[in-house]
Structures are given as C-alpha cells and as structure tokens.
Symmetry: C2
Subunit: 212 residues, 2 copies
Amino acid sequence: MRAVIPFKKSNAKSRLGALLYEKEREDLAMAMLADVAGTLAGSNCFDVIDILSMSPIYLENTNIVLTEMGLNEALNEYLRKMSSHNLNEPVLIIMADIPLVSKKNIQDIVSSRADIVIAPGRMGGTNAVFIRNPLSFHVDYYGASFLKHLEIAKGLNIEVFDSFNLSTDIDEVSDLAEVLIHGKGHSRSYLEKIGASLLAKKGRVGVELRRQ
Amino acid sequence: MRAVIPFKKSNAKSRLGALLYEKEREDLAMAMLADVAGTLAGSNCFDVIDILSMSPIYLENTNIVLTEMGLNEALNEYLRKMSSHNLNEPVLIIMADIPLVSKKNIQDIVSSRADIVIAPGRMGGTNAVFIRNPLSFHVDYYGASFLKHLEIAKGLNIEVFDSFNLSTDIDEVSDLAEVLIHGKGHSRSYLEKIGASLLAKKGRVGVELRRQ
C-alpha cells in the first residue's frame, strides 16, 4: 500500500503572510509535512511514502518525486503511472498541511472496506482520499472538491471519513490556533519556537507572535 | 441517560447578520436545534432530552426548561440539580448549532468508557461533553473552553472525540457553506428555502443568498 503527499515549499502558505515571513512559512510547511509523513510512517500501513514536490527537499522515510506539474496534473499522472506499471495497489492521497492527523486516523481510513474513503476539509475541501484501485478514480482539487470527488466516485462504494483532525488544514493565521491547541508534533514546536502563542479574544481565541 | 442542549432564540447567531435578517437567524437557529434534538432522539440513547432555553419554544421529543441564566450558570445549575436529586446518571451537554452531528456520532460518544468525552469545536471551543458522573465536572465556556475543560477534568479518564461533524458549529456566514455541502436535515432545507446556495470563489467556496 502506498501514500502520496503533494507538497509545495517555495512561497508556501501565502495566506499566512500576515503573520509569518516567507522563510517562516516555508519552515512551518516543512514541519507540517514532517508531522504528516511521520504519522504515515508510524502507522506502519505503507510500503512506500512518496512526496510529489516542486523543489528538492529531504525527509526521512519518504521518496521525493520532483514534479513541475500543478496539483491535479501531478496526482493524476501519479495514479496513471501506478496503473501502467500494474501497481494496482491501494493508495492514500493526503495533504501536507493537516498536522493534527493521528496514526489511528490513518489506520482507520486504510482499514475501511469502501472503494473510496474521502476525508473532507473545511469549506468543501478534500484533505485525504483513499483509493482502493487507482484505475477507478482521478482527482479534481480546488473549489468544492469534496462534492466533485463524490461525483467522480459515483457508483463506487464511498465512505466519508468524519474527523476534526483531518478536516483541519492550516491555511490562515487563525488556523494556527488549532495547532497550538491540539498539535503535538513538529508544527506546534516550531510555532512555539518562533514565539507564537494563544491570545484570548472576546469569546474566542486568536494567535499572537512575539519574536525574540 | 440524559441530554441537555442550551439554546438562545432571540437575536440568535448575531454574526450571521451580514447575510440573514433577525427572523431568518432565529428560524435557522430553530432548524439547527431541531436537527440536533432530532438526532439525539433518533439515536435512542436518552430517556430525557432537556432544552435550557431563554424563551418559550416548542420542539417535539424534548422538555423545555426555561432559564434566565447565562450559559455557564444555567448548565452548572443543571448539573448541580441532577446531583441533588440523586440523578447521578450520565449526561451529554451538546450545543444547538452543530446540525451536522449524526446518530452514529452520538452512539459512539455515549458508548465510550471514558469518564469524560469532549468533542472540540473549532478555535478552542467545546461542542459536546459527555459526563459520566455529573458530580465530577462543571463547565466553563467561552475562550479556549476545550483547554479549560481538559483542566477541569484532570485526574479523570478523558477521551477527545475526533469528529468534523461535531466540530462544525455554525457561527459565521462562511460556515453556512458547511451546511449546504454536508447537511442533510432541517437546516439545509431552510437555507435552500430562503435562497442560499454555494458560490464558487477562487480556490474556495462561499455562500450567496438570492431572496425570491
């Protein structure tokens, strides 16, 4: 069984630019990737963990597959290549920016009996999709990709995987609060190292950054 | 086993005011309450479903308990009264604005062996808490209540319940997209009835309202 994580390092996470410098955004993106890949490796579910990356990086327990293609093209090419090499084994596509994901989440997803397991992100996104037969599916990210993926998988046996951890992609400054509240890994350590902390607001919480 | 839902109808959901009139916000609040209470009733887990309400309402399968107290005071008084009447049965406190909650979610929560089960909301909130012994716990909502509740339950056996459905409280206009994408009940029907629909934005989705 395989897992594949699409990843973009350079100018990563531009919507965090209101709080973080470009270098910090890239470091945080790498820390989140390390959390996700480390959880995949620790789940003991996969023979191969591939990272589809636009730029050369190093991360233990993973293969870096360089690509210049966009998200959809790179992943669909990946699925097509698996099929043409007769690698019709199940594959988990998982986003690099969901650092709260747990080993139990991964084990629960891959032990589903469904043909397709889709873990929604907030606002219509798709944060993970488990594909039993890579010939049977293609991806279509952006917009309400969750609804598009349900449509693409029509006729197959679909499970919607209900998880707060998996739904929590870190895109905007306010999302960093989720890492500080629920995170346990590299991403949280990194945010604390650069001086990020929770800020009590009226009725809600926010994030502040006090650089040393 | 009991469930209790705190509820505020008048001037409900003020942050939805950018899109919805006051009457629509109240109607939506009632539709979401009906979804949550209907799911609780359909789960067949509870002998009693109480709604702690600031104003007289009617909802089938529930008892309306009128209160003039704030959220924390009303719920802590409720827990204290259960104890003083020797009703030391388990109780689920659940918010009225999480219409995506499923029967399976409820059944999974109440079948936990933990002393306290906490389902986080986004941004540090607490959207449901299951209390095996009402003498052993009190609530402290607002701010990062999730962290406060972990602290209050210290020493007890705590389970954090990982669910996108339960984490999705509907507070802001963008949250309505979650109801339109994932909802199946009264709340979604109501939003569609008044003319709300998904709007494709650059890379994300939004919500628009075209009143007839």
